[in-house]
């Protein structure tokens, strides 16, 4: 590897600081009592406690998935604290009352908690360890009937919606980590876009893990009623610790007739150091149900962080003519491991899906695309197009493509293409011979490689993602 390439992969993690704030952190360990404690702290109704306990019973019977192409020592689930929250002095009446230490933290991370901040136009729900600390623009959104709040709040304010939809897309026993989340989830975002409403601004949640031995188990639920549409963004960071933290989230999306949900993630959890010590285990279940006709769910993700990523944002295309999309850039460096992709389950007639996945591997990392396209016998006229490209930087990393294609309808059409490319000496020399230096050349090649995904991101995110990839690759190219 040339030195230009080398210099491009190794810039320090910018978000690795710890906020010194008094926390209410539960003792480590998981049992029915832990779950009752969490539920009690949140003053939850009995039906939700029952939901949790049922999930816990299911979880006890399950084992962690063995099939992903990632390696890690067994997780001791008794060594994790399942609840940690900054100590609130009193109930907050407005944003001005948020702990200044927290405000400072999110300011440093560039998250606009102040409604007058420069990124006005994005409503944010901020999750710090286990709890939502603030949600901006609630009042303004309420004017058009949109509910945007923490899920804990929604349990109390809108129990009928939570009862109806929680666990409806990702059942409690769906998989090991989803079952765990269903048992111990602490907070997350809830949003509900009523019939016919186009959400006037992007909604977003910013997740921050701060406490060393806590896990984060958030739960997000987004419902778009008939003809509604919303664009939702999610960002994540964590401090640098040399232990591994577990992040096991569940995200459920429901799109009714003609509804449109666009969900974008820029994931920059701490990835561990250059020797693979520390970092977040990001084991996430994200699934959207295109329940209504002509509905559309689009996932866009830029995955650059986490020691291990295990994540398959999926679409169940039940409504006729519904559309599922998945656009992904996954970058791994050092000793990071990613096994990520999507599932497109075609049930309805004339359903369509599109998958564009770009994997970039550098250092000693291992990057796998794993995707399922299933065409059920009922899905006449279904179409899928998948494109999975890998780029390798250096010869110590790996790039894998595991596309599962299952078709049970002769009227369906499925196409999958994959290729590999590289940034090598000859490419860089060609740029140099035209006067273009190494870093600029690499950034141009990477952005060109990821173009189809970046153009799906909202503008601010696209800029951030481009910068992030540059930072992450610093030192690895050349």
């Amino acid at each position: 590897m040339s030195s230009v390439l080398q210099n491009l992969v190794n810039k320090p993690y910018e978000h690795g600081f710890v906020t010194d704030i008094e926390s209410d952190t539960a003792a480590k360990g998981l049992s029915e009592d832990t779950i009752r404690m969490i539920s009690g702290k949140k003053k939850e109704p009995q039906w939700l406690l029952d939901f949790r306990l049922k999930a816990y019973q299911r979880w006890l019977t399950m084992t962690p998935p063995q099939w992903p192409n990632v390696k890690y020592p067994p997780i001791d689930f008794q060594a994790i604290s399942y609840y940690s929250a900054p100590k609130a002095k009193k109930k907050l009446a407005s944003m001005d009352e948020v702990d200044p230490e927290l405000l400072k933290t999110f300011e440093k991370l560039g998250v606009p908690m102040n409604e007058r901040a420069k990124l006005a136009g994005v409503a944010v729900d901020v999750i710090f360890d286990s709890v939502s600390v603030a949600t901006t623009y609630k009042a303004k959104l309420a004017e058009v009937g949109i509910i945007f709040c923490s899920i804990s709040e929604a349990v109390h304010e809108h129990p009928e919606l939570i009862k109806k939809y929680l666990g409806s897309v990702v059942p409690i026993g769906d998989n090991f980590y989803a079952a765990l989340n269903s048992a111990v989830f602490t907070d997350g975002s809830f949003c509900f876009i009523p019939k016919g409403v186009k959400c006037p601004m992007d909604l977003s949640t910013y997740f921050r893990i701060n406490t060393e031995e806590s896990g984060q188990f958030e739960r997000t639920l987004i419902i778009a009623e008939d003809g509604a549409s919303v664009s939702y963004l999610e960002g994540c960071t964590a401090p640098k610790f040399d232990t591994n933290q577990l992040h096991a989230a569940v995200v459920e999306l429901v799109a009714l007739d003609n509804a449109d949900i666009k969900y974008s993630t820029v994931q920059n959890w701490y990835a561990g150091d250059e020797n693979g010590v520390g970092g977040i285990y990001n084991f996430v279940t994200k699934r959207g149900l295109c329940k209504g006709i002509n509905s559309r769910i689009s996932w866009t993700q830029v995955e650059t962080g986490s020691a291990i990523t295990w994540k398959y944002p999926s679409c169940i295309l039940r409504g006729e003519n519904s559309v599922g999309e998945f656009y992904s850039v996954a970058l791994t460096n050092h000793y990071q491991q990613a096994d990520t992709g999507t599932k497109m389950i075609h049930l309805g007639k004339n359903t369509r899906s599109k998958i564009v996945a770009k994997g970039i591997s550098a250092g000693h990392s291992n990057n796998s695309y794993r995707g399922l396209v299933r065409i059920a016998p009922s899905a006449t006229g279904a179409r899928n197009y998948s494109q999975c490209d890998s780029m390798l930087i250096g010869d110590q990393c790996g790039a894998n493509t595991f596309p599962y294609i299952q078709v049970s309808n002769p009227g369906a059409k499925v196409e999958h293409e994959a290729s590999t490319s590289k940034i090598g000496e000859d490419q860089l020399f060609y740029f140099a011979q035209r006067g273009i230096g190494g870093e600029e050349a690499v950034s141009m090649i990477i952005n060109g490689f990821c173009k189809d995904v970046f153009q799906q991101l909202p503008m601010e995110f696209a800029v951030e993602a481009t910068k992030l990839l540059g930072v992450k690759l610093e030192g690895s190219v050349g």
Partner: protein
């Protein structure tokens, strides 16, 4: 054209270079002055493509001896991109494909980088678009190729035209065209050669690296050099190329030492 008042642009003396520890160039000598067209010919493996890459600074080659002055200054202290900015252009034998990077974007970045290096103003995308389309007419290129990825899926002819287009944009002092004629049909060859002829002027110079005489029917060289085993073993006028065409290269090497080391076209 050989001129009285010309300046020396490139002066190569005793250049030696290795790749993977194997010596390929074993003492190349060449002097190129403004306004001149040189052709370097020779059998496969005689070092002519290596010579072109070493001048441009390809990282796989190690210079082990000799000097190269570019407009009087040491070329080897410059990084490859600095050589390009200083006005040394290499037309690649195998232009590299860069998926995802639009040709227009690449051309503009290259153009603006080189312009900035020369203390001139950059062009914004709209100005550049007008400018590049003008240059493309010269090479009879289809405008839609600006939107395609750099060289990706280009035919051999399109790739070579793209190289000459870049030469037209970057206005080098010395352009080394490495087997620009290979893989071209006669129409493409005519267009590419026409482009080179229009770009050649009294202030710059062109070095054609070629295996066949065919290109020289279209671009008339002032000097023809013959390489063998990493050295220029003979230099002559254009007629030498025709002689090589009819007699091959063997007759030259059958007379070892006859013209060795006397290859400078001074």
């Amino acid at each position: 054209m050989i001129r009285e008042d010309s300046k020396t642009l490139l002066e190569v003396r005793g250049l030696r270079a290795t790749v993977n520890g194997i010596e390929i160039l074993k003492g190349m000598d060449l002097t190129v002055k403004s306004g001149e067209v040189h052709a370097i010919m020779g059998p496969n493996g005689s070092g002519k493509s290596t010579f072109a890459k070493v001048l441009a600074g390809h990282p796989a080659y190690v210079v082990t001896g000799g000097t190269v002055l570019f407009e009087g200054k040491d070329l080897f202290v410059l990084a490859p991109e600095a050589r390009a900015r200083a006005g040394l252009f290499l037309g690649f034998q195998y232009p590299i494909e860069i998926p995802g990077v639009a040709n227009s974007q690449f051309l503009r970045l290259a153009y603006n980088t080189v312009q900035t290096g020369r203390g001139r103003d950059e062009l914004d995308p709209l100005e550049f678009d007008d400018f590049v389309r003008e240059k493309m007419k010269l090479l009879e290129m289809n405008p839609d190729f600006l939107d395609r990825s750099v060289n990706e899926g280009f035919s051999g002819g399109e790739k070579k035209r793209n190289e000459i287009l870049q030469m037209a944009l970057l206005e080098p002092r010395v352009a080394i065209l490495d087997e620009t004629d290979s893989g071209l049909d006669i129409d493409a060859l005519r267009i590419v050669a026409g482009g080179v002829n229009q770009l050649a002027n009294k202030d710059n110079a062109v070095v054609l690296v070629t295996h066949y005489q065919r290109l020289l029917n279209y671009i008339e060289p002032d000097y023809v050099h013959v390489t063998e085993a990493g050295r220029i073993i003979k230099t002559g006028p254009k007629a030498l190329a025709l002689e090589l065409e009819s007699r091959g290269y063997d007759w030259l090497s059958e007379k070892p030492g006859a013209e060795h080391g006397a290859g400078a076209a001074a």
